[in-house]
Each structure stands twice: as C-alpha cells, then as structure tokens.
Symmetry: D3
Subunit: 160 residues, 6 copies
Amino acid sequence: MELTHFDDKGNARMVDVTEKEDTIREAVARGKIKVSRAVFEAVADRRIAKGDVLTVATTAGIMGAKNTFQLIPMCHILQLTKCAVDWQLDAAACEINCTCTVRCKGQTGVEMEALTGVSIALLTVYDMCKAIDKNMEIGEIYLAEKKGGKSGHIINPREV
Amino acid sequence: MELTHFDDKGNARMVDVTEKEDTIREAVARGKIKVSRAVFEAVADRRIAKGDVLTVATTAGIMGAKNTFQLIPMCHILQLTKCAVDWQLDAAACEINCTCTVRCKGQTGVEMEALTGVSIALLTVYDMCKAIDKNMEIGEIYLAEKKGGKSGHIINPREV
Amino acid sequence: MELTHFDDKGNARMVDVTEKEDTIREAVARGKIKVSRAVFEAVADRRIAKGDVLTVATTAGIMGAKNTFQLIPMCHILQLTKCAVDWQLDAAACEINCTCTVRCKGQTGVEMEALTGVSIALLTVYDMCKAIDKNMEIGEIYLAEKKGGKSGHIINPREV
Amino acid sequence: MELTHFDDKGNARMVDVTEKEDTIREAVARGKIKVSRAVFEAVADRRIAKGDVLTVATTAGIMGAKNTFQLIPMCHILQLTKCAVDWQLDAAACEINCTCTVRCKGQTGVEMEALTGVSIALLTVYDMCKAIDKNMEIGEIYLAEKKGGKSGHIINPREV
Amino acid sequence: MELTHFDDKGNARMVDVTEKEDTIREAVARGKIKVSRAVFEAVADRRIAKGDVLTVATTAGIMGAKNTFQLIPMCHILQLTKCAVDWQLDAAACEINCTCTVRCKGQTGVEMEALTGVSIALLTVYDMCKAIDKNMEIGEIYLAEKKGGKSGHIINPREV
Amino acid sequence: MELTHFDDKGNARMVDVTEKEDTIREAVARGKIKVSRAVFEAVADRRIAKGDVLTVATTAGIMGAKNTFQLIPMCHILQLTKCAVDWQLDAAACEINCTCTVRCKGQTGVEMEALTGVSIALLTVYDMCKAIDKNMEIGEIYLAEKKGGKSGHIINPREV
C-alpha cells in the first residue's frame, strides 16, 4: 500500500485533487478528556451559570477546524459550510466527550478538520482547568463517520 | 476549587501573570497514535528511506507548538527557547509514540505548548496515512513532566 | 426572534450553509475616525507626498478583510473576489472616512469582511497617528449596503 | 508635529524601541454596539441561559488582542501578560458596552492591543446577531486609560 | 501601461475577478540557493540518512504557498488543489535548485503561490544551514510556466 | 561540520537557546527584483504620485518579517524592536533594490527576519506588477550584515 502524500522520488506533497468532482462532504470526529472530580464539577457547574468553559472551548474548536489547512501541512484549504462542536458530560466516568461535525462542498474530505476541531476544543478545556488538575488526559480521538466523495459513507467500527 | 480563567463576574479571561517572575520553564508532553499494521510499516519504512512522514509531522508539531497562543484562547504568548519532537515506534503494538519538549524563560508554564505540539504532530501522521487506514486513533495525550515556576518539578504518576 | 449561531442545546456553532446556492454577493461598510487638527493635517499632507498613512491602512484593511474567517469565530471562509478600501477626508470635521467594498461568489454574505476591513483600516490609522493624538475616536461603523443572496439588496437607512 | 512611523525618506516603518526600558504597561479601551431591542434581548437572555454570545465575543476579543501585531502593520509583537474583556449592558439605550484591558511588561504600550480587542469583540457580537438586525452600529471606540512608559498615566477626557 | 492593483484615484486594491470564469490554473516557479561546499554536503548527506533538511523545507514551502493570500496583500484567497516542491542538487555549482508547482480551479492564477512556495522553501534551507555558512545567497526566483486563464500557456524565455 | 537543527537521532528541532544571553541583535538583508522598463517606470512614477507600490510592499515586508517564526519552521519567536524596509531604484539596470533592517534584544539573531522581510517585500512588488511583465526575476537575496550575539559583527564579503 502506498502513502499518497509522497511522489515517486519521496518528496512530501499535497495530493493533487484538481480533477476530482465537487461533492458534499461531511465528517464527524470524537474525542474525550478524562479529568478529576473537582474539574468535572467546575466545568459542569459553569454549564448552568453565566460564563462557560465549554463555550470558550467550542469557539476554539470551530476556529481550529477552520485553521486546519495552516496547521496540518498537506491539508487542502476548503470552504467549510458547517462546523459544530457538541459536548456530552459523563459524570460517572468524569469524562467530557466532544464531537465535531464539519461539512463542505469540495474536492476532498473534511475528516482532518473535524479531528483538528475536536483536538483544539479538548486542549482548550485542558488549558482552562489545568490550575486544578495536572493529570488530565486527552484521548480516544477518532473519525466516527464520513460521507461524500469516492469512499462513500464510512462508519467507524467503534460506532456500531 | 476555582477556575482561574474566569473573573468574579464569570467572564473568561487570560490569567494576569504581570507580577510573576521570569524563570526557566520546561514541559514534556506525550501522546500516541494507534495505527494498522499497513500504516505502521509504511511509516517505519519511510524512516529509513528518503522522505519521511515523521519529519513532516515533527515540522508541523514544532510549528503547532509555536502557534499555541493563537489556537488556545487563554494562552499567553511566550518566547519558546526550545522545541523538540521525538518519536518512538512500538512495532508490537502498532503504535507511534510522540514526545514534545518545550522550554522558555517566562512568567508562565509551557505545558500547553508541549501538548499542542504533540497533538498537531499526531494529527499530521493521521493525515498522511489516512488513505490507508480510516480507523486510526489518537490518544493518551498527557503532561509527562513540568519544571520551573511556583509549582516546581511535577512528574505525572504515569511516568513513575 | 432566534439567534442563528446557536443550536437548540445552546451550543455556539457556524451556521450551516451547505445547501445554499452560490450567488454573487457584495457588501459595503463604512466607518470613521475623528482626529485632532494636527493628525488630520499630517495624514492629508502624506496624501500628496511620497509615503502615505492611508496606503498602509488600505493594505492592512484589505489583509484584515481576508483574515475575517480567522478573527470572527463563526464566520465562514470565503473566496473574496474583490476587496477595496476608499477614503474620504472631511477637513471641516477633522474626520477620516473609510469605505470597504467586498465581493465574492459564494453561499453566504460578505458583510463581516467589509466591516472587519473598515475596522482594521481605521485601527491602523489610529496606530500610525497615536504619537500625536491619544484622544482619537473610531466610530459609526455600519453596513451601508448589501447585495446578493436570499435577503436581496439592502440599503442602510443612514444611506438614504 | 511628526508621524513617527515614517523615516526621513518617507518610508513606513516600525518605530525602533530597542533602547527603551521594559516597564509595566497597561491600556484600557472602550467601545459599544448599538442594537435593536430584539437583538438586545436575545443577547441579554443568553447571558442567563447556557451558551452565550458574549462569551464567544470575549474569546474572540482576547484572541484578537493577541493577534494585534499581525493585523496592524507597524505594531510590535509584545508578550501580553493580561487580557480581559468586560461587558456592560445598557438596556435603556439598547447598547452593549465593551471594555478591554491589556497589560504587558515591555518596551512599548499596549493601547493598540486593547483597541483591537474591543473592535474584534464588538464585530463578533455583530456577526452573531446580524440575522436579526442589519442596522447595528459599532462606535465610540477610544483609549480610556494608559499607564506605564514615558508618557505616564493618561486618562481620556471622556472618562473624567 | 497600467498597474491593475490601483483604482483611478490611486488606492491600492485587490483586482476584482468576480466576473472571471473558473478554469484550471497551474504555475511553476523556480529558484535556487548558492551555498558553500560544507553546506552542500551536509544537505546532500541528510538526503540519504534519516531526517532531512529538504523535507523540512518542502513542508515549509507547501505551507508558505497556502499562506500566500495572507502574506502578499493583494493576492486572492484560492483553494489550491495541488502543491508540490521538488529539488535538484547541482553538486558542481554547489547549488540547491527548487521548483514549486501549484494548481487550482479558480478565477485567477496561482503564480504568486508558486513563487512564495519557492521563496519560503529556500529561506528554510538557509535557516537550517546558517550555522555553517553565513554567505549563502538566494536567487534566480522566476515564473517558469503558467497555464489556464485568459493569458493561456506562458513559458519563461529562460526555460526554452 | 554539523547542522544544528537536528538532534543526534536525526530529528529536526528548534535549537535550544534557553541558556544564551539576551543581547541587542541586528541584521540587514538585501535583495532585488529585475523588471522590464515598463514596470520600472510604473513603479517609479507611483513613487511621486499618490498611492505607491513600494508602500504596499514595505508594509507587506514588515508584516512578513514579524511572521517569520510562523513561516520558517525552526525559527524562534522574537520580540522585534525595529523593522524597516528601504528601497533603492536603479534606473540604468531596471532593478529595484530592497534592504530590510531588523533589531531585537534576544537570545538569537534576527537574520531570518531580515531575509524574510526582503523576500516578502519583493514578492509583493512582483504581484503588483505581474500584469505588465511576466518575466521579472527576484534574486541576490543575502545577509549583508549582522551584529550582536556570540558571532559578533559580521559583514558579507559582497558589501566590502
């Protein structure tokens, strides 16, 4: 199997998608941050008070998704037509779950945008809570689902 | 316990570090990407051929660490004096482990820079290998070690 | 009335424009900076000499308009096809008036690009003149006109 | 009086501050956006519900302040040690007032950072409310106060 | 002959391409860096060992090409569909030759992207080798070839 | 001789300057663009009219110099205290010569900032004149002079 991001002389390159068709693309990525009880409660409390860790993290995640082409060297610049970040709080496990959904009409997929959105959103939660807990851990970042383009509708085995 | 990134009216803010002393700070963060055997071998082979997934990812990780203040909303801008990205390949587990070490002389720590460096480096590996494997997973991103500043030398329990 | 930038759970999001049609869009925004007589004359003089505050501010305004999607969190990335910054000097009032006109062919309007262009252009004038006058004031920034898309041709009541 | 941002041949330049002393600097800027009653209420309501226009705008304002050196051509890059954005809602006037306070220890002042922070925060409010009201107006952006450096403590006449 | 980047009042502007047709565009730019024998050998050796000056420079060149619209004030933002950086080592002359090829489907050409890609790639080689040689020189940066759009297929006289 | 931008395992890295002393640093870089007679006259004429190719290019060059740490992967982020771009028109040779001078007080030199400033300024001239002439050539970009730090005062042999 071949890495598509290298030419036959071994130079890294952006894959040529010039001849590919514009189709509607969508990608959903997920990830989580495992935090202490104290952090979990601080974040969950904010959720019902004014001000809000997760609104700041959502904002950062959306801006991060839009910045993907400047962060990930071989990513194409795409005109995202939708970007949303959702959160699910798992109190039993002290875990904050993040989902980022991205859409565009273009020549290549938006999975990197969704994955970058999740990563930056979770890093922002980390940053805003690190004064309380220095042992938080970010993990299980994966592509949950992908639609559009040659590869069609793909669902991660974890999702089924 | 208090979230330091909010004032008493609940507004998000950058923490005021004006009166803090300049000290030498260092942070080490780790993370990994779990890949298929096919991806693992493609990456490991590049390692000994010309061109190299991991050199591209190292470059992206260092640039990402330098961009942290523009990605994570409440992060201070810091003059990083060192940034290095290292890799350890675990063939048995099909895992590519990444470590990012950052130093600066400043008024606040560089853990977010190290964590962002690891995250962007791993996302870059994902991007360059996603044509082969769509089920890769990024995880176990944590602060391994931190030196300098008021909190002194901190080592993550995972490291000992 | 509803804020479109939140989903029904209250999460901030970028509005989904995937299904909207590409049409030619145009927006014109205006704003002004009120300056002291000394600043006014320094700026007006440059206008006829080599070098020029307003050329630097025009350059910054155009670059700012292009950066809108990275500055305003919920703005879409758009391929601007035109961006122009014009100036009108009002000597009687000691006011420097700025107009920014932006066009694109896309799925959503360019009013934020025009407003951001005006804002950055005026801030640049402020920056270059602040050694002379610290009481300048930027104001009356509004959308003068908007064409294209579902809402059609809109003219601000101030303009008529 | 001289514009300091030009050399004697008329070339635009960044002012040389190499020989200036590091002192603690602070700047406070203000501005406002005049909105319709419907927008005012939508923003004020969010303030007490989950999710929040003003938290997104605060986040954008802080990120904008940190980006000032890349937006305003002749601004120096400074290590901001504090950046805060505050809001005051004036229900009678349907006005949303924004204050941005910035501090650093450096060789030049942070007034442009404070003014840029206010401008980007207000543009973000505009963006998130423009579906309801297209005649909002941003204005009265000025430097309220400035401390540190050669010019000492300066208070805008508007403030006294 | 007229400079197209100014309106008839002499204001700098981005050229209006709204009415131009989308066609496939391609541009190839070249440039070189002249280095000492010691640098040349260090770079060439890396080429066959793990790690690699030219992979880092390729990465930077591609990212630079994607950033063109934010670096060159009057450049349009374009959705590049291909970006590749190639190298040719001329051992006799101690010269490292760089070629950058860019494609997009859009309303204006990509020559600035190709030229910026070459420039940033060569600056990166300079940076990574400057500890050995402070007299390197970058030069002969030109547009080799250009296809698509109104001006059709253009080949630089140097190429024939 | 060793490339300092790689560790002993061959990983690219930012050089660690943590222990280096803060000293005042200065670098001067030069470069030129060779243009047709028609371009030369258009640029020179602007010089004495309102509006000005070279003011736009100066602005872009200064902004480019400030962006160096985000363009050149292994460059440190530095607080530039001065950045100036000068031009010298050589009518006989149809050449536009550019000089960029950068200063900072820091732990590493500013030669890359000066070289990047020159490169971006010259690319901007290219962009604004390319409608007239497609065979322009940018070249002879080199470090003219460097002061401060361990290596002391260095003057390029070309300068003497």
